[in-house]
Symmetry: C2
Subunit: 132 residues, 2 copies
């Protein structure tokens, strides 16, 4: 376990967008823009059960999450780690993220249905930061 | 070869930041924030010879580039493809990108030296877009 430096935790606590990279079955990298937060030193990403990044981390949990602040895009934190898939608290997490990013209390999927949400809990193993 | 949809080309032509994912020798994904542009249907990223993403694509050219516009972050284009490394025109490209992103005519590295630049020319093989 590697600690995320204190001075970049604020980017994970703020509603900054992140990009998560996972590995497709072919070995190719796959990327997606996501909301992100943290629980202590773990990075948390919410996704839908069965979606590509969920399937990818089930097959290979190694992933990377990068955040560059909207107002300071030459600064960034890249967290490389291993994702654990969690069900518990997934609905609460997506609603909390939704509140933080959009101001709406409850997240509703584009198609109006409530998908089954899961949490990707990423344990940092390598952290690269640049603050400019 | 897969065509990048017309309606997202403007994000590649504008000075929007991108994230490139490549594969580390260990098989883990690696991400970096980059300036990006295009040459026709190829995505162009500038980097320094010998830098991690250069070494990664020399070993495995499969990569992903994702752009979400600063003012519309729920829209994105992800281009998955194969990177070809080019030397020719690399200095001109970094200066052009520098001009577009910062307004300065000539790019100078942080340490004041002129590193040897290369171009990652990415041939799209799969393109995923969402416009909201």
């Amino acid at each position: 376990m590697v600690a995320i430096p204190e001075e970049v935790l604020r980017w994970l606590d703020a509603p900054e967008f992140a990009v998560i990279a996972t590995i497709l079955p072919s070995g190719r990298p796959h990327q997606a823009v996501v909301w992100v937060t943290r629980d202590g030193n773990d990075v948390l990403v919410s996704t839908v059960k069965g979606r590509r990044k969920h399937l990818n981390v089930e097959a290979d949990p190694r992933c990377s999450v990068i955040v560059y602040p909207k107002d300071s895009p030459y600064s960034y934190v890249e967290v490389r780690g291993t994702a654990e898939v969690e069900d518990e608290g997934a609905r609460e997490l997506i609603d909390r993220l939704c509140q933080e990013y959009t101001g709406n209390d409850r997240y509703t999927a584009d198609d109006g249905t409530d998908n089954v949400r899961i949490i990707l809990r990423i344990h940092p193993e390598k952290v690269v930061t640049l603050i400019r």
